[in-house]
C-alpha cells in the first residue's frame, strides 16, 4: 500500500462569498506566519478575513484550507465558512479527518492544496496536539516542508502556537523561517 493511498479526499474547493468588509490583515503571499496565542482567535480571524475579502482585486479572492483540532462543524458555524475544506485532527475515521500520527497524509494534503491553489491561505491549528502525538522534530519537518512550498508560491500559511506548550528552543525553531504576528496567551 502506497504512502498516500489512504489520502483524504477534499470536498470541492471554492472561494467563500465576499462579506463586503475591510481586509484587516496584510499578510504577504509566499510567507508563513506564526501567531503566539491561545485560544487561536487572531489566527482564525486573519484566516477568515483574508479568504472572505479581496485586496482591491475583485477576481482574486484566495481559497482557504484549515486543519484544526476543533471539529469542522463548530468552525463552519462560528466563522460562516461554506466552501472552505476543513480537516479535523482526530483519531476518528472519516473523510475530512487526518490522524495526528499520520504526518505523511497531513504533509501531502497541504502540499497538494498549495500546488492546486497557488494563492491559497492555509491555517494549521492544533500544533500542540500534533507534537503530543509525535516527536517535535518530526512535526517541525512537516512545517519546514510545507513552508518550502509556500515560499515557492503565492500561498500563505498561518500557524497558531500556544507558547505555554513549547519550550523556548522549540518556539525559536518554529519561528526560524516564519514571520511572527503578535498575539496573546490567556493564562
Amino acid at each position: 500500500m502506497g504512502l498516500f493511498s489512504r489520502r483524504t479526499t477534499a470536498r470541492k474547493t471554492g472561494a467563500e462569498v465576499g462579506l463586503g468588509i475591510t481586509r484587516k490583515y496584510s499578510l504577504t503571499p509566499g510567507k508563513s506566519y506564526v501567531v503566539e496565542e491561545s485560544p487561536p482567535d487572531i489566527s482564525f480571524d486573519a484566516f477568515v478575513n483574508i479568504i472572505s475579502t479581496t485586496n482591491g482585486e475583485p477576481l482574486k479572492k484566495p481559497v482557504g484550507l484549515a486543519v484544526s483540532r476543533q471539529h469542522p462543524d463548530l468552525i463552519r458555524q462560528k466563522y460562516g465558512l461554506e466552501q472552505t475544506p476543513i480537516y479535523w485532527l482526530a483519531t476518528r475515521a472519516g473523510q475530512q479527518v487526518i490522524s495526528p500520527t499520520n504526518l505523511g497524509i497531513l504533509t501531502h494534503t497541504l502540499i497538494q492544496f498549495i500546488e492546486d491553489n497557488p494563492s491559497a491561505v492555509i491555517l494549521l491549528d492544533g500544533l500542540e496536539y500534533l507534537v503530543s502525538n509525535n516527536d517535535f522534530n518530526k512535526v517541525l519537518r512537516v512545517i519546514d516542508q510545507v513552508n518550502d512550498h509556500i515560499s515557492q508560491s503565492k500561498a500563505i500559511l498561518i500557524i497558531p502556537v500556544d507558547p505555554r506548550a513549547f519550550d523556548q528552543k522549540e518556539v525559536a525553531l518554529l519561528e526560524r523561517n516564519m514571520e511572527k504576528i503578535g498575539g496573546t496567551a490567556r493564562r
Partner: protein
C-alpha cells in the same frame, strides 16, 4: 513607544461589561482615548445623541432591540456616523443585513489590536 493619541470619540455598544472593558483598553492602546460605552439600544441612543461619537462599534446581538435596529436609529439621527458591526460569530446573513442598513464594516469578537487598528485606520480621519 506610546501610540499617538487620536481625538476621535468612539462608542462601544455591547451587553457584556467585560467585553466593553477589554474593548476600551484595546482602543486606548491603539491611541483612541475618548471612549464611551452603552449596554443596550436605549442607553446607546442616549449616549450617541449626547456624546456624538464619530465611530460606533455595535454588537449585533443585544438584549431587546437588535444591533441592526440600533444602526438604523443612529444613522437616522446622524447619517454621517460610522457604525462598525460586531459579533462573536460570522453569520453572513446578519452581516449583510447590517451592511445593507448602513454599517460600514464588521469586526469579529473577541477582537485584537491588528484587526481593530486596521478598521480604525480605514474609518477614522
Amino acid at each position: 513607544m506610546c501610540p499617538q493619541v487620536i481625538a476621535t470619540k468612539i462608542l462601544v455598544v455591547d451587553d457584556s461589561e467585560a467585553f466593553r472593558k477589554v474593548m476600551t483598553e484595546l482602543l486606548v492602546r491603539v491611541g483612541f482615548h475618548e471612549v464611551v460605552e452603552a449596554k443596550d439600544f436605549d442607553e446607546a441612543m442616549e449616549v450617541f445623541m449626547r456624546e456624538k461619537p464619530k465611530i460606533s462599534f455595535v454588537d449585533m446581538i443585544l438584549p431587546g432591540r437588535s444591533g441592526v435596529e440600533l444602526t438604523k436609529a443612529m444613522l437616522a439621527v446622524d447619517p454621517k456616523a460610522t457604525i462598525i458591526a460586531m459579533s462573536s460569530i460570522i453569520n453572513k446573513k446578519m452581516i449583510r443585513e447590517s451592511m445593507d442598513n448602513g454599517a460600514k464594516d464588521f469586526l469579529l469578537k473577541p477582537t485584537n489590536e491588528i484587526a481593530l487598528s486596521s478598521v480604525l485606520t480605514m474609518w477614522s480621519d
